[in-house]
């Protein structure tokens, strides 16, 4: 994946979820086609932690089936960093296990100006992918 497009309505929903959850980290799955996100699936952070997140496997299985039925592909896994910058932590990199998806980190460190960055992780190599917020 070399770039990712996210409709402003989806981005705003992700920010609203993160703000509502703060100081707990929020998380979810972004689905779409090619490089364009079409749908957001909010997930439960079963850790209920301000510094960690774990998705509920039952929710994961349910969402994957919904995506498949809708003809969508999992493009990115997102979570919020309520107090730290939009970068992958060592833990994020270690647990970036799902192949062929990007990892989006949404930082609320600047509460008025949420910042999202997208990364791909290939073994020990991490690279940032441009994120474009588009109409829709």
């Amino acid at each position: 994946m070399t770039e990712l497009e996210i409709p402003v309505s989806v981005f705003d929903r992700m920010v609203a979820q993160a703000r509502a959850a703060a100081p707990i980290e929020s998380c979810g799955i972004l689905a779409g086609q090619e490089n364009r996100i079409e749908r957001l699936y909010e997930m439960t952070n079963i850790d209920k932690s301000p510094t960690h997140f774990t998705m509920d496997p039952a929710e994961q299985f349910a969402v994957v089936k919904k995506m498949r039925a809708a003809g969508l592909k999992m493009l990115a896994i997102y979570h919020s960093h309520p107090l730290t910058p939009a970068r992958l932590s060592a833990e994020d990199k270690r647990l970036a296990l799902t192949p062929d998806v990007a990892y989006l980190v949404l930082s609320l460190k600047d509460a008025e100006n949420p910042c999202a960055k997208v990364f791909v992780v290939d073994r020990d190599r991490t690279s940032e992918v441009p994120l474009t917020i588009v109409k829709g």
């Binding site: 510094t51 960690h52 774990t54 994961q60 299985f61 498949r68 960093h81 932590s89 833990e91 270690r94």
Partner: protein, 71 residues
């Protein structure tokens, strides 16, 4: 034997346990995978004792987690 793995029909050797299927399908880091068979999520100890049957619907998913940690 035919199985449906992550929505796709796949040929597999018959009589495999879930642990053996993960090896057969070359799933990396199987200790980080959750498995659902015919809509039921397996507990990890069941990976060795659950044997796949013809037509079973199998879903594999990696653990999804992380976090800002101790930054």
């Amino acid at each position: 034997m035919k199985l449906v793995i992550n929505g796709e029909e796949v040929k597999s050797k018959g009589g495999l346990s879930v642990s053996e299927l993960l090896v057969e399908q070359e799933v990396k880091m199987p200790e980080m995978v959750s498995v659902e068979i015919n809509g039921r999520i397996l507990r990890r100890p069941e990976f060795d004792t659950t044997v796949l049957n013809e037509g079973d619907k199998v879903e594999f998913l990696y653990f999804m987690g992380g976090g800002s940690g101790a930054e």
